[in-house]
Amino acid sequence: MSEENAKSRRRFLQASAGLAVAAMTPAIVRAQGTPLQLGVLTPLTGAGGFDGPRMAKAMQAVIDEVNAAGGLLGRKVVLVVEDDQTNPEAAVRGARKLIDVTKVPAIMGTWASAVTSAVAPLCWESRTFLTTVSGADSITKLPHQGYLIRTQPNNHLQAGKHAEFIASLGIRRCYMLSIQAPFSQPTQDRATEVLKQLNSQMVGTLIYDKDKTTYRSEVDQALRTNPDLIYLNGYAPDVTILLRDLYRAGYSGLRFAQSYAVTSKVLESLPPEVTEGVITVQPSADVSSPAYELAKKRLSLPEPDSYETQATDWASLVSLAIAHAKVATGEGIHDHVRRISQGNGTKVYSATEGIKLLAQGKEINYEGASGPCDFTDIGDIVDCKFRYNKVVGGKFQLLKVA
């Protein structure tokens, strides 16, 4: 066989193979052209390894729904997932790949504050939109030029809400015992300010040293102010000791703590009489929202948690912003995300519902599964729900979600 013949046969085979592949591809994909790629950068391993995979799953579920309804801008949406390993260095590598190689308009999912702080500059410099659950106040104070939103309440919002709850219990005298940590002083200051506005009072605050075996003198100092409620703003090992020392001292008022400081393991490690009546608080999904009901069905879960619902909202917000902007770029999402999440448009509770209305030329206001998803200028949420539990007989009982 001559060489010329061999070449032309190879070309023929290549061409037929290409045709065969094209013929096997479903019509819907062919109609949509190149897929629209969105970046996901969650911790699949490391400290965030419990939340990251669930967040990625929640985003995928929203995108599957969007694709089933015809995709975005006539294109199929594909999530490109990178593992940030809960490690800033690995996260920067993952983000670089998403930004430089995949050229995504948005990265969704950073979890640890250190990771978000490392990735955010890459995002705003490349005009890539970033959504996160990191809670440190400093995150939204970065010069991100609007290329970042977070759905997690920051310290300031949390402290304010906690103080409102405490005042709503009729507490007149509150004392705050805080561990030495970056969040302690801002939390004390904000709670003091809000209590004062609500005719309640912070009668004293104290920041204690961690890693002590007893806090008797600190407890004495707190009890001298006769508080009705003591806010224990620390971590599990020290809050456990404080609960013991408060019990020993005969304190009978209320005790209030973050849910990560009084966990079910803490309840197991202490006799029930010591923890009886402790109230815990944590940011909550908006369980009364229709968007939450939809998330439950979409994820086939009885109670999607705060992280799953926040991830649901990112995928929805980014999809809706692209649909509103009619262009899949970081600038487009940046300019349009607040136009679909807040304002006087028709309230919608899912991405597909919103995309349909946008196609009809209507304005929308997305209300999420994690909360109303209204953002301040620097990208913080304006409001969110909190879950309050009370310890009864060594077990948690839901007090309310508000």
Binding site: I207, D220, Q221, T240, R244, Y247, K265
Partner: protein, 290 residues
């Protein structure tokens, strides 16, 4: 800020905290006296003792006293084994190398505990009792009991060192290893005994700390700096010094609340180290530095 009227209460709190600190501090100082290196593996042995006591108390349902004896025995046995297998080989390389090896050892052992028991907080099966009010002073019955147990252990140790042949041999090695060996005292055997007693006391102290708090793999590590401070302030190598040092650190940390915010409490132990080492380099009751 705390007022002067609170001084008696602060002193009581300090004595109770200091007594518990004294038990592992004695262990550290005893090992130093005989083997001449600060054994930081004390931290993980305190944790191991606390967990051994936990297994005895919660899993096997034993009362607190036998559990505490078991904490002593298990931590002591692990102490002898870890010294024979690991630290002994480092000793010819000098005390700094051995001290650094002991830090590595403590991290390894701590992770072994983490691997076996997990990271969760655990508590002993012990009801928590309300404090007694004696006039204006508040005292916890459990803490009084811990104080008593610690005091009995210290008296037993002093009796052991003062009246038994082995105890005297230990003191002889600590005082002058060369002379002791000429007299036919086997330094290796004494080394094992001091490790058993020293690490046993660490485990004992670990459980006492756990009785008052909760335990997790970091229980020993959290306290080791205060224990070290107590031993150094009292004079490394002096057992009465360790007790005095622990009380100084314990009471000092409490009294500092009169003029400092509680978040500076840990700093007091180290200020005490600086002061003592500047004014009296061998510690309050320390022997002359070798």
């Amino acid at each position: 800020m705390t007022s002067l009227a609170e001084v008696p209460q602060l002193v009581v709190n300090g004595v109770m905290a200091g007594t518990i600190l004294a038990v592992p501090a004695i262990g550290l100082t005893a090992i130093y006296a005989v083997l001449r290196f600060p054994n930081f593996a004390l931290a993980s042995h305190a944790t191991i003792g606390a967990f051994a006591g936990y297994v005895a108390n919660v899993r096997l349902g034993l009362p607190i006293l036998p559990s505490i004896v078991l904490a002593f025995l298990v931590a002591g046995a692990v102490g002898v084994a870890s010294d024979e297998l690991v630290l002994k080989r480092f000793r010819p390389a000098g005390y700094i190398t051995t001290a650094i090896a002991s830090i590595a050892l403590t991290i390894a052992l701590e992770n072994l505990v983490r691997f076996t028991f997990g990271n969760e907080l655990r508590g002993y099966d012990l009801p928590i009792v309300r404090d007694l009010h004696l006039g204006t002073i508040r005292v916890g019955p459990q803490q009084l009991q811990n104080l008593l147990i610690a005091a009995i252990a210290m008296v037993a140790l002093f009796a052991f060192l003062a009246f038994t042949r082995t105890g005297k041999a230990m003191r002889a090695v600590a005082d002058n290893p060369m002379l002791a060996s000429i007299k036919g005292i086997n330094a290796d055997v004494i080394g094992r005994i001091v490790n058993f007693v020293g690490m046993g006391l660490a485990g004992f102290g670990g459980m006492l700390i756990g009785l008052d708090t909760t335990i997790d793999p970091l229980t020993g590590f959290r306290s080791i700096l205060s224990v070290f401070a107590a031993a150094v302030v009292g004079g490394l190598g002096s057992i009465p010094g360790a007790v005095l040092g622990a009380l100084t650190v314990g009471i000092g940390e409490e009294l500092c609340l009169l003029f400092l915010s509680p978040d500076y409490r840990s700093a007091i132990g180290f200020v005490a180290i600086l002061l003592v080492l500047t004014l009296r380099p061998r510690g309050i009751l320390g022997q002359a530095a070798y």
